[in-house]
Amino acid sequence: MTGGEPTLAEICVVACAEAWRGDGAILASPMGIIPMLGARLAQLTFEPALLVTDGEATVLAPADGPAADGGRVAEGWIPFREVFTLLAAGQRHIMMGASQLDQFGNQNISCIGDWARPKAQLIGVRGAPGNTVNHPVSYWVPRHSRRVFVDQVDMVSGVGYKRAAGLSPVITRSHELRRVITNLAVLDFAGPEHAMRLRSVHPGVSVSDVADATGFVLAAPLQVPQTRLPTPAELAIIRARLDPEGRRDQELA
């Protein structure tokens, strides 16, 4: 159970965890299994002050509880209405999905095609407009492809850098797209004028693999490092404690 080389899912969990490094006592809102494991891993290792919920209203303490409660210890209560308040206060860092994402971080989860009569209706903008103008946002893309990384998104749900630059000083100070983690690579927005930049590639992935799967020109350093591998201690926490059922592999299947 605790042996073996790190899998792609485990490398992605650690890359997600890294997104929350340095955030302190704010609410981590991971959307998806691998981001959720990442947030909990960060809380259990290098970012103990992080607030992490069970996906509903219960805040989970970084502690082992009685097995009868699934090993969980509740340390607080953050129902949806309080999430909205934390969000507006800037005390949150969410990792959302993205059906489309462009070079400057505009994100779409609303619909594909013309909004008035979409070719494919998706979930809706959800909280993406409010999240992006209030607090740090990262994205998790389990299948890196040109369908997701597009020249232009069809319905701007999450606000990218160029659009945010035209808004109020409070918003431009609060707006931060921290990381994009995919099955191929880790990206950020440290390119020219906050363009998306290749930060690291996962083991076995080349820079051209990522470029081929991206629908715009990615900024990249001369030497692109490899994504850091999980430490033995991190692997033990992921495998034995956070996800003994192996749900992390489903998202990359």
């Binding site: 979409p118 209706q121 979930i123 809706g124 409010g130 606000v159 808004l167 918003i171």
Partner: protein, 299 residues
């Protein structure tokens, strides 16, 4: 006033549905596929009312009303079944251009309800600015702070409702309602934003039993907010109603599969939605009995 001199009326789901008029704006409590007043929604779906504007953190409530042809306009930030991300009826209706959508950030929806509850015309907010929510809602205006900061905000208009529908775990016949799950969602705000609110509940209990069953602050709905109570055991099915029951994932999966296929939907509707709420609950009980038998029988 009712026969018993109680402040609110004890009603059936059909009686609640009969209070609606075509063209009304209704708000539906719960969140996604969680603690939705589904018994009331089912009653509306089989009533004669039409052309509704529905305000909701959308789940299968929205799907069922769309499938029944009741929705003219939907005001929402999302429609989802949670464990199944996309709601098929909503998708098909949007792709066919059969409903009009007012798509807002989910925090804007909260703010619109809060403005309505406080009798304000709007509330200022940063959400929406810079996004295409402003493009697809040309009616949205911005407002500038009159103070030294001079910041510009989205002016989120009040979402005033004709009728609100919510589902609680417990209620008394005076119109006090209690949630026992992890989250109140926005059910109190929906009631406050509405001219009239109707509450269904898993069980009507004597008033003293409310605080015996949960802490004082679980009494989310007070009797000034509602004008009718309906006892509907299983009334949130198939959405979650913790701690009374979780989401019926197997049933929801069947709903979603049927919703995506017109032929299967006709069968689903004939099996579960042709009769009244009692018939629905009997059909669900029969399904459960069948499941239990299959699980118990030798392979």
């Amino acid at each position: 006033m009712t026969d018993a001199g109680l402040p609110v009326a004890a009603m059936t789901p059909a009686q609640v549905a009969a209070e609606l008029r075509s063209g009304m704006t209704i708000g539906i409590g719960g969140f996604g596929s969680r603690r939705k007043p589904m018994a009331l929604v089912r009653a509306i779906a089989s009533s004669a009312v039409a052309d509704l504007t529905v305000v909701s953190y959308g789940g299968p409530d929205v799907g069922l009303l769309i499938a029944a042809g009741k929705v003219r306009r939907l005001v929402t930030g999302f429609v989802t079944l949670d464990s199944i991300p996309l709601e098929p009826h909503f998708r098909l209706a949007r792709q066919a251009g059969r409903i009009t959508l007012t798509e807002l950030d989910e925090g804007m929806l909260h703010w619109g309800l809060l403005a309505a509850a406080h009798r304000l015309p709007f509330l200022p907010m940063r959400a929406g600015l810079g996004s295409d929510v402003m493009r697809v809602n040309p009616q949205l205006r911005t407002v500038r702070s009159p103070y030294a900061d001079g910041e510009e905000f989205a002016a989120v208009p009040a979402l005033r409702l004709d009728v609100a529908l919510v589902h609680m775990n417990r209620a008394d016949l005076r119109g006090n309602g209690q949630y026992l799950g992890p989250d109140p969602y926005f059910d109190d705000l929906y009631c406050r934003a509405a001219d009239k609110a109707y509450m269904s509940c898993e069980r009507i209990v004597p008033t003293a039993e409310l605080t015996a069953g949960g802490p004082l602050q679980s009494l989310l709905i007070n009797r000034s907010m509602v004008c009718g109570v309906a006892e509907t055991p299983g009334g949130a099915h198939f959405t979650s109603c913790a701690p009374d029951y979780g989401r019926d994932e197997e049933f929801q999966a069947e709903y979603a599969a049927a919703a995506a296929d017109p032929e299967r939907w006709q069968r689903f509707r004939a099996t579960y939605l042709a009769g009244d709420e009692e018939a629905y609950q009997q059909a669900v009980a029969a399904l459960r009995a069948g499941r239990a038998e299959r699980a118990g029988s030798p392979a």
